[in-house]
Symmetry: D2
Subunit: 294 residues, 4 copies
């Protein structure tokens, strides 16, 4: 997600506009007409109307070649349209690589997966830092040349630990925080600093098995599928808007061990899809859930 101040001076290629607001006649026509008149060549566009909530959502991506507005001018001009339709909106350049922090505890499969995908070009972002409450993941950070910080968390130092992490995140100008199996509970104050910009992976098909040890509870319950859920973090545990979910079949032949191993493969893809959609500005939150314009 790009706020105006973080737009970089480099020559951008595409712009992405995300808008949401009360559904009204003429929104598509007005917005399309505006970008068209300024020379935009639209390469992707999708709208969604939520009839129950009388809500309109739109994602527009256009080639900036031939577009006659600078981003500053776009902000000025578009503000009045947005006001007229009471829309929330943001615009981003695809040349901008969002700055993503990864937090984890001991299990490093999601970390290794995210770092690989970024190196491979699948995730168009920067990883300015990795934070863990354990030193184990350092080898991965070193391998990918990402700064690595250990912030130990004990019962008595929670406040200090969070303060230290916040300071690191600010210092590194982080746009998105990814909890890639970070097992410490974060305070409401911390979470509030990252509204719809902190993504967690929970190792169950939410809302089944909210809370601790979902794999163990899945195994004990005898479910025939295990799942994983990536969601925005909100104050209430595992209750934030769901971005992506997937499941895999298990049977009585699975031990707890093989069930966990199957689940890990899910966690990786379910988390990486959410991160990707977020950094490509494809996710819009509305009414406690999300639309993914993929």
């Amino acid at each position: 997600m790009v706020s105006p101040s973080t737009i970089q001076p480099k020559p951008p290629e595409h712009a992405v506009l995300l808008v949401s607001g009360p559904d009204q006649k003429g929104i598509v026509a007005t917005v399309s007409d505006f970008v068209y008149k300024h020379g935009a060549n639209i390469v992707e566009s999708e709208q969604h109307q939520d009839v129950d909530l009388n809500l309109f959502l739109m994602r527009l991506e256009w080639d900036l070649d031939g577009f006659d507005l600078s981003m500053a001018e776009f902000h000025r001009h578009f503000a009045s349209i947005a006001e007229r339709f009471q829309m929330k909106w943001r615009v981003a350049l695809t040349s901008y690589r969002p700055r993503v922090a990864i937090l984890l505890s001991r299990l490093d499969h999601c970390l290794a997966d995210l770092l690989y995908r970024q190196k491979d070009g699948e995730l168009h972002c920067e990883f300015p830092l990795v934070i863990s409450n354990h030193p184990d993941a350092k080898r991965w950070a070193d391998f990918y040349e990402v700064p690595f910080f250990v912030v130990e968390v004990e019962k008595q130092n929670k406040v200090e630990a969070e303060a230290k992490m916040l300071s690191l995140l600010e210092q590194h100008k982080v746009d998105l925080v990814v909890l890639a199996r970070y097992m410490q509970i974060l305070s409401a104050a911390f979470i509030h600093r990252f509204p719809h910009s902190m993504i967690n992976i929970h190792h169950s098909f939410l809302p089944a098995f909210i809370g601790a040890k979902p794999y163990h509870r899945s195994y004990e319950r005898g479910v025939k599928l295990v799942g994983a859920t990536s969601h925005y973090v909100t104050e209430i545990l595992d209750e934030g808007p769901i971005i992506e979910q997937d499941v895999i079949r298990v049977s009585h032949r699975d031990t707890l061990g093989t069930l966990i191993e199957k689940g890990r493969d899910l966690e990786k893809v379910v988390l990486s899809r959410a991160v990707r959609w977020h950094i490509e500005n494809r996710v819009v939150v509305y009414g406690g859930k999300v639309a993914v314009f993929d």
Copy 2:
């Protein structure tokens, strides 16, 4: 499930033996040796060892051609082996067609599906009767020539209604009760009459969305998959051993209506698989969950 008294005199082809008990050395050898010595030609066999529970489960299916024991003799002989290994067991003939009652309320997609599969030869069972608290399903019962009974349920006549249903089920010598979207809550007393022989279809991925209106709650929560679960009915609502589950992908593009329609396709397959495995004696309940020897 076949109790000795319901075994029919017709020439059987295969026998199925299901055993469960504490895991001990020599069980497979002893049981295999016993059936071999009496001329059994094994066509399917599977065992399962649950290490945590120290439990042994086994399903054995053999061709009766050349087998030198009658079922009565088998019962007599096998009883001592079972006693020695403290095993629970049952034996069934595949020529026996279990007698299955279908209960439903208004929605008839599962009913129509089960009746089709039986007619088509996929479900090797009899449907001696269909019971509903609404008259609507009669057209299906008539089409498939299955006796149909309306047992209306009102707040003030619940006891009488259940008594009437029980009487119908007994009269028709029912082995298995299938709740194919039957929306009335059954009493513990009623449920106790069908231990591990009453199967329900719940329209969510249990344990997510236990209770009423799971599709509505799935839609509101913004899940990315909807599910269905077939399970044995026990006293505690939606808490019985899970036999089968499946899910289908939904997105923000789905309305509540299309989400429900997608879910219905799941319900049909998830329920029919459970019924099939049950009547083919492929399901063993242990520790609150099931093994399916498919």
Copy 3:
């Protein structure tokens, strides 16, 4: 698909516009502006840009309440926009129920499934007739009160049989032909009469197992998933644009029989989804493949 002549006089509620053509600046703006100026309240809209083919596709659905053009006027006015952008287009009213003919041979699971879904309100269409080369399906046609015709096909009467079927389809003003496990090969001449308006279900994951007996060949090859594919029928066998596909897991434990039974569940959903998307005007064919605006 609705040609102008088949639009019914009944009060319509929504209109659907499908357009495709070379991608150019201003298409979305121009089309949106046009419908907006005439009072359209857009309820669904989606565009697709195929960069490789330089192609633009769009589906627009709007509430006709407040729309100030009759369909005749719309045709007149929109024609010039379409010409300007060299677009192919069609418009349909959601109040119109497309007239769908079902053709089948012996296997009736897809027939029964389609008829059920239409009765249940899931498929918004009419079934004016069912044609089979066997009399067996009559019971289903009778149950759903759909006219049923047997057109026997022998080697020596293929031409006459097709002529008879064509005559029936014309007489019943059919918009779409569904081959619901119709096992006779149709002539190119026959197929040409239904361009992108004849849907077939093939019981494999195309292009694997093109041609006869795909289940048998899947079983022999030892695949770990079996599939089903619904596609528009073109002259070359099983080569038409694919509308939908799905698969289900099989293993060495499956016999050919259980593999076929699993496949049939797929066939039903894969065919019914294609029929639904087609009659809801959600399918656009381009470059030998389809976009589904679901």
Copy 4:
């Protein structure tokens, strides 16, 4: 796969016996009785009868604690049983870590995935070497401290290159060769050296898109799912026994690029499952296909 000579002197824990042969009465009883009499505590057992081929397959895993035969004695004693039933068989110790060579070209996602899973304990094997025709993968080999060899392949040096690779594989006493996106075609002579012990990952749902550029052809054909297949390598390209397959949904919204990225996630899991089942002695080849005793 463990040949007697490679069984290590270290204290083993479990033994796995795989047998296959013509189906006959008494096989299960005889084999079970044999291992029981020698004190085996069976922890997993599964049989499969292929009725069409009159074939019997069995996998037996037992705890060696209390088993009174050494592996040498087991071989001697079991040989006569095997002869009596005309069975092919092999026995392995789970303490033995099969020696697996990974071959790859440029794409390293499968390599990185396999190395991670082994380090993490999911794959119980050794990777004595990695061979590539490009130097790029060295960073992974170094990271995991696996010896890395570049064997360049040009049209004119194919024979020498294969000879060099064979020599490396022999020198490192390799039990299994994994082609983890190795893009060179291997000669029949090379392949013959690894009967049912060379696994390839093909990036399509075989037999669809046999041969080169399956993702490109999938994209052009407009399939709605892309797949991946792991199989034993035999002389005929992409025709060997299939071990595992999986698919993922794509749509017109996917570019060739995102289709390939989705496919890569499949390749990793589909290949790693095959490798795991192979090294855990869970795969039996019969009649051109495989049974997986998972």
